[in-house]
């Protein structure tokens, strides 16, 4: 009887300790998997940022837009917020997981200071159209990057818009003559007509090359002022929070560059730059929050740029 009791205690001890070791092993493997996933998502987020680098310097070789479809190995979700005060975008990224939950852990926040990205605050997909265009007002400020995760249907677009977007061959953009020809899931973009996104051109002054040089974009019940085609596309492809924040960042940069050009103009002896310096001062110190007002001042700056010794 006592012998049986001794053997049983041995087995009980072995089972308890074995269970404890198994539990610890499974716990640590779980934690390790989580850490590895966090690491790989963070690396993916950083690589996505680096993938956008060519789009951020295309304006350096002219005004030409660049577009490319980025295909990811698996579906990803991107969450980004813009902070105008800190002059940055914070991007989080996570990818689809084949083990356990559908989506992995969110990556560590990736702070982006050197790009101006116009897109929805939350995007999901395996394939993204990325486009960039030089933003000039009137001198080049930087390149604006647009990330499209949805389909857009441009209804009766003006020839300038159609030629530019058709030439760069975006897969998520369709051009039609009437709204009924658009695919059901696509967002309709109409010019001077009501639909999902309405563009209203307001440029009717003598100096306007096109009616749509500046105007408003109405989307999801909100109205966004734009100036130049770069910001028109920005308002179409992003939400109002991202648009307002990124535009604010661009205006700060514009004022900084205006200050540099003003100092350069005063260094260039013999060159008639008095009027240009005055206009650049107006641009640098403009307190207007309206992008259209700033655009009008920038046009005066452009007209004051001396022909015999252009500063920009």
């Amino acid at each position: 009887m006592e012998k049986r009791g001794v053997i049983e205690f041995n087995w009980i001890f072995a089972v308890i300790v074995g269970a404890a070791i198994l539990f610890l092993a499974i716990f640590f493997v779980g934690r390790l998997t989580g850490t590895t996933q966090y690491l790989s998502e963070t690396e993916l987020a950083k690589n996505f940022d680096i993938l956008l680098n060519p789009f951020a310097s295309i304006g350096g070789i002219g005004q030409v837009s660049l577009a490319k479809t980025i295909d990811m190995p698996q579906a990803i979700q991107i969450n980004q917020t813009c902070n105008a005060k800190e002059n940055r975008i914070t991007m989080f990224l996570r990818s689809e997981s084949s083990i356990g939950k559908k989506w992995g852990e969110w990556s560590a926040p990736n702070q982006i200071y050197n790009k101006y990205i116009f897109s929805g605050s939350f995007m999901e997909g395996k394939s993204f159209d990325v486009m960039s265009k030089s933003f000039e007002m009137p001198f080049r400020i930087d390149d604006t990057i647009y990330i499209l995760d949805k389909d857009y249907c441009f209804v009766n677009a003006p020839s300038s818009v159609k030629e530019e977007l058709e030439w760069i061959n975006l897969t998520k953009v369709q051009f039609v003559d009437s709204a009924s020809a658009c695919t059901t899931a696509s967002l309709k973009v109409c010019f001077d007509m009501s639909c999902d996104i309405k563009i209203s051109g307001q440029c009717v002054d003598a100096g306007c090359a096109d009616k749509y040089d500046y105007g408003t974009v109405q989307k999801s019940g909100k109205s966004m002022d734009y100036a130049t085609s770069s910001l028109m596309y920005a308002a179409i492809f992003s939400d109002s929070a991202a648009y307002n924040c990124e535009t604010s960042r661009l205006i700060s940069r514009l004022k900084s560059i205006a200050g540099i050009l003003k100092q350069k103009a005063s260094r260039l002896s013999g060159c008639p730059t008095t009027e240009l310096i005055s206009k650049l001062s107006d641009l640098e110190s403009s307190s207007s929050s309206s992008i259209i007002d700033i655009y009008k001042i920038s046009q005066e700056v452009n007209n004051a740029n001396p022909i015999e010794c252009p500063i920009f």
Binding site: T36, N87, C309
Partner: protein, 160 residues
């Protein structure tokens, strides 16, 4: 007597099991330490690769910055404007631009021909790793017409 013997036997068996378990735990610990070091090395390597890519792309971005790039009548030339560079340098460390350098130790442009001159855009100390590219640094002058005088320079970015 028999009861005492049985108890001693049981205690010896339990002690044996305890020692085996301690040995397994120590072995597990050693394996875990090696694995952690391996993982840490992988993470450091990944961080190093990212920093390399950042340095290379920063070279391209700096040469395209409108703050220092040559431009005339809306057409950007492939050169750095010396006047704009000298005006920009005091601004490079300001809050508006400091984050552009993304943790790099030094960003500089050195004229190599015809005369030698160095402009340090950011930083003081040279890092352990350096990437560089040749560029033109040009100065705009005006005597009856606008002209540009250029020199060959080397732009360097270094990090540790």
């Amino acid at each position: 007597m028999q009861k005492k013997l049985a108890n001693k036997k049981a205690q010896v068996k339990i002690q044996e099991m305890a020692f085996v378990l301690v040995a397994i735990v120590i072995l597990g610990g050693i394996v875990f330490i090696f694995f952690s070091k391996f993982q840490l090395a992988n993470v450091q390597k990944a961080a190093e690769t990212v920093k390399q890519k950042e340095a290379i792309s920063l070279l391209e971005r700096i040469s395209a910055m409108p703050e220092i790039k040559c431009a005339e009548r809306g057409v950007e030339k492939f050169c750095i404007d010396q006047d704009k560079l000298e005006i920009f340098i005091p601004m490079a460390a300001s809050s508006a631009y400091i984050k552009q350098w993304q943790g790099m130790q030094k960003v500089s442009i050195s004229n190599i021909w015809p005369d030698e001159k160095e402009w340090t855009i950011y930083g003081k100390w040279q890092g352990n790793f350096t990437y560089s590219t040749f560029i033109n640094v040009c100065k705009q002058e005006f005597k009856e017409a606008s002209s540009w005088t250029c020199s060959l320079a080397l732009m360097e970015i270094s990090y540790s």
